[in-house]
């Protein structure tokens, strides 16, 4: 904001010319995000499908039909379970890691670089590695567990088939999400911690606050906005990500890992029922809107 009073703006002609510039970016975004969003609302109330280009208005039929599908409720439940369990696990791992990375030690840069690799690796690519580690017969995870005596031998009851067992498949998918995003949680938290000025902490110390008091009453309120944003970004990405489940199990076995994005993809693209698919994808909106509003409120406080 420095020097803003000096800046009265040059000649009005140049100004008018550049006013159109953000308009262009806004237009592109509007065309490719706003328009599709509206179009998706339109699809959701039509009987559009891949075979017939002319769609008819069917009102809320697609939403009603979705609510009547058993697999929709299974997917919704799985999506929520996935989101909540993953969030708990990645907060635990992320917070503890952030505290460790807050310490001063030799080789910290290298270690930090190594620890964040899961988040920076393209997701479709890292999932492949997990698919191999979860192999029904040659799983390296099982190799370790079996040598430790924790599970039985291959071919017996005690040999877990991670992606083939309905009881384990969702756990397996959640673990991959946690693996991928716990470094993100840690780095966001770390960014929050380092944004708290040392003087503030010292002042609280002088005032006789214990470690936990300082944490609870000084640090947490100060890093709250950044925490919220990290949390909400993760919510949006975890809820809407299809690649982990799609590549590991395609939603199987017996719908045990079916989540809303996978269902929307299978019905919208694979079965070609665009209207039905769009309606299912739109069920994510009520879950996402609170996230958007909170992010908006926090971004408004951005300092420069």
């Amino acid at each position: 904001m420095t020097g803003s009073s000096l800046h009265g703006g040059p000649d009005p002609m140049a100004r008018a010319a550049v006013v159109s510039v953000p308009a262009r970016a806004a237009l592109y975004v509007l065309l490719l995000v706003g328009a599709p969003f509206l179009f998706s609302l339109y699809l959701a109330v039509s009987d559009a499908n891949v075979g017939e280009p002319i769609a008819h208005f069917v009102g809320l039929e697609n939403f009603k039909a979705a609510l009547e599908m058993d697999v929709f409720w299974i997917s919704l439940r799985n999506s929520v379970v996935f989101l909540v369990v993953a969030a708990v696990l990645k907060s635990l791992l992320g917070t503890s890691l952030a505290f460790l990375l807050l310490q001063d030690f030799k080789g910290k840069k290298l270690i930090r670089g190594l620890v964040v690799i899961p988040f920076t690796l393209p997701i479709a690519i890292s999932v492949l590695s997990w698919k191999w580690m979860y192999d029904s017969q040659f799983s390296v995870i099982n190799w370790v567990l079996s040598r430790m005596g924790l599970i039985g031998q291959f071919g017996t009851e005690g040999w877990p088939i991670w992606l083939g067992d309905p009881k384990l498949a969702l756990v397996a998918c959640i673990l991959v999400n946690v693996w991928r995003t716990f470094p993100f949680s840690a780095i966001v938290l770390l960014a929050g911690f380092t944004s708290v000025p040392v003087e503030v902490i010292d002042a609280a110390k002088v005032d006789g606050c214990s470690f936990f008091q300082r944490f609870r009453h000084v640090v947490v309120p100060m890093i709250f906005p950044i925490l919220m944003i990290g949390f909400l970004f993760d919510t949006v990405f975890t809820l809407s990500d299809l690649s982990v489940v799609y590549l590991l199990t395609q939603g199987g076995p017996a719908n045990a890992t079916k989540i809303l994005p996978v269902l929307a993809y299978q019905i919208g693209i694979q079965a070609g029922s665009l209207g039905r698919g769009a309606a299912i994808a739109l069920f994510l909106v009520p879950l996402l809107i609170p996230a958007l509003i909170l992010v908006l409120r926090n971004l408004k406080r951005r300092e420069y």
């Binding site: 800046h7 328009a35 620890v115 191999w132 970004f233 590549l247 994005p261």
Partner: protein, 289 residues
């Protein structure tokens, strides 16, 4: 002074103990984070029989390492095409992103436009509208444009998330350039555009480069759009081609699969690594500077 007085041995011992404790605590995290990548790497260089013997110690080579898996990739699959597609897609996406996001970011940051801040936030928020909500309507748009089944579809679609993110990022960058520099340029006879092109842009080159990197790395993170819009085997980018084309039914060529994943994934991960703090700053609105 005080340091010189203190007995050096106890100090050092204390520091070593502290370091050992920290390393011990952080090792599990590093192992969890890195193991899948290590596993990818060792699988890629193993001979097939070496992959399927459970009685052997699996974490190292029991048979001599081989490059056969990579040969298969380049001679018997479209892997080379996918790498080429990935780079051309990214180059186009980066170009489209820069042409729109640089001027937009500058205008929103600098010109006293009414509602600039809110426009900026609105543009950024579209980054949060997930592909899963947009891909069905976009599939119609891609079809209307006649781009289905070609990687050009992705060139059109990826800017939906790179422009919002990079505009926001560049807004932050341009705001850090001191106003005085721009005014000096104007005093020296540059117009607004001249000042921008000759003075502001060169100073902001790191920001522009960062945007290019993000246009690339964010494109690499996509799977859904590529999966939905591009089906011919030779048109896919790497992150889509590898999992969809190299897996045929129930037969897995794990060596080649892991090689394909590693060869492209690792460089991207390392590149992204260097810019991760920028990404975090971007999405958290620069709170944690």
């Amino acid at each position: 002074m005080a340091r010189a007085m203190a007995p050096p041995m106890t100090q050092r011992r204390k520091s070593i103990r502290r370091h050992l404790l920290i390393y011990a605590a952080i090792t599990p995290y590093v192992v969890i984070a890195v193991f899948p990548i290590y596993w990818m790497a060792i699988t890629a260089f193993k001979q097939d029989p070496d992959l399927y013997r459970m009685e052997h110690f699996p974490f190292w080579f029991n048979l001599a390492p081989t490059l056969r898996n990579f040969k298969i990739l380049f001679y018997q699959t479209h892997y080379g095409d996918w790498i080429w597609n990935t780079f051309t897609i990214s180059a186009w996406v980066a170009l489209i992103t820069l042409v729109t996001a640089v001027p937009a970011g500058y205008a929103l940051a600098r010109l006293k436009l009414p509602g600039a801040e809110n426009t900026g936030i609105a543009i950024f928020l579209t980054y949060l509208v997930p592909p899963i909500i947009l891909f069905l309507p976009l599939s119609r748009i891609v079809a209307e444009l006649g781009l289905q089944d070609s990687w050009w579809a992705l060139v059109v679609v990826y800017p939906t998330f790179t422009i919002p993110f990079c505009t926001w990022l560049l807004m932050g960058f341009f705001k850090t350039v001191p106003m005085e520099i721009e005014e000096a340029a104007r005093v020296d006879g540059c117009g607004q555009a001249g000042a921008f092109l000759r003075v502001i842009l060169p100073i902001s080159l790191p920001g522009v480069l960062t945007s290019v990197i993000f246009a690339f790395t964010l494109s690499m993170q996509d799977f859904l759009y590529g999966l939905a819009f591009v089906s011919p085997g030779d048109q896919k980018p790497v992150p889509v081609g590898v999992p969809t084309e190299l897996i045929r039914g129930d037969i897995y060529y794990w060596g080649s699969l892991m090689g394909a994943a590693l060869l492209v994934g690792l460089p991207v991960a390392i590149l992204y690594n260097f810019f991760l703090d920028r990404f975090i700053q971007g999405i958290t609105g620069g709170i944690g500077k």
